[in-house]
Symmetry: C2
Subunit: 261 residues, 2 copies
Amino acid sequence: MKVIDSIFSISFIGSGNVATHLARALHNSGHLIEEVFSPRLPHAKRFAEQFGCNVAKDLKELNPKVNLLIIAVPDAKVEEVAKALPKIRGIVVHTSGVTGMDALKDADMFGVLYPLQTFTRNRRMDISDAPFCIEGSDERVSKSLFQLAGKMSRSVQLISSKQRKELHLAAVMVSNFVNHLYAHSQEYLGRRQLDFSLLLPLIRETAAKVQDISPKKAQTGPARRKDEPTIKTHLEMLKSFPETAALYHLFSTQIKKKYNE
Amino acid sequence: MKVIDSIFSISFIGSGNVATHLARALHNSGHLIEEVFSPRLPHAKRFAEQFGCNVAKDLKELNPKVNLLIIAVPDAKVEEVAKALPKIRGIVVHTSGVTGMDALKDADMFGVLYPLQTFTRNRRMDISDAPFCIEGSDERVSKSLFQLAGKMSRSVQLISSKQRKELHLAAVMVSNFVNHLYAHSQEYLGRRQLDFSLLLPLIRETAAKVQDISPKKAQTGPARRKDEPTIKTHLEMLKSFPETAALYHLFSTQIKKKYNE
């Protein structure tokens, strides 16, 4: 078996948010971004310009000699991409929370490099505090990936496919669902001629306080106090917002039950 | 009518989180905290020690000569407290999001001082970026309250009772409901032997990105991509978490509908 003790040259499949943020961090820590493939050629070209790398016209044409190939495509596409890969000499990884490592088992050396963070196009963020969840097909692969992730982030964890899926599910709740609550509030306030920006300090503090105290201790609000008149008033105010009312009702019912049993 | 051009001496009814944070900010900006009343005498005494003020044994015994009396009690108690008040020479305000200003209309001068922020016992936070929503029974009262709030915060808004209620409803969603999602994630991960702290950078970034871009643009995740296999997998993983599954299902249905119509 070939062993990679140190990863230098890296290629990407995918040129979206995750690929771009990882490539930037790896480029900045002195790695060579070798090549990129994306079905969306203009995106691949923009990525290639940014990191001074080649553009592969086809998956089959990818340079097989790289130390690491990172598949950073939507979760649902990982298996399809893996099946179409040429033989790669280095390690092949994906970056998906929900996909098992075994999706890549046709490669000699494979693994997972999953940053537990939300990435937004055109938004710079500090990847160095994102926990990287690492998994490798054997111990030396794990070690190589651990080292590599440690150059991008202060927090690297060896996490099994099963645990990664569980973390990803929890991440969906605290990020995607939380953001949907922000969207409900913005829409509601907009239709009432009020400015969503008034809520921004509250949004910051709500996220800040669970950095220090547990969410269970941090819970406040009408449902926590079992303040039925306020809950009733709010549901009346949401009469022309049926979807917001449905969420309001479910949350209030759950919170009342959780804290007042 | 008596006019208060400048507020100096301030009494409190209530000695909880809101009262304590406001008293600290007002004390620090050079105001005299005159007196406190709370049905929970040990709390009132602790409050009084902290700000060097008197403890009133009964609502009826409150010193009527203060410039401002702040009623910082649970929303459901404001009206009851207002009815039991002696005649106060200064302005009487409450701090409730959901209660109309008119609950205080027996006073000569009255208003509202509503900080749009979440307050947690034993947690210091910077009140100076909390938007203060102000309402006054007449223009001079509004002006006095506006001035006073301006000493505590950089952001002071004149907001009607109707609008304040609407802001409060939106605040419940982006703070209390968001925190409940954090609690679901913590419980889920705990039962899977995983550490909630792995989500903290994601929680910070999710709150940080809507400071710059709209929640609608910031939305990501399986439901946003209409990734049905992942949604199905997640619902299966939540089989022994029926309440979490109910939230997951409702959010995913709404997000798919909102972004894919």
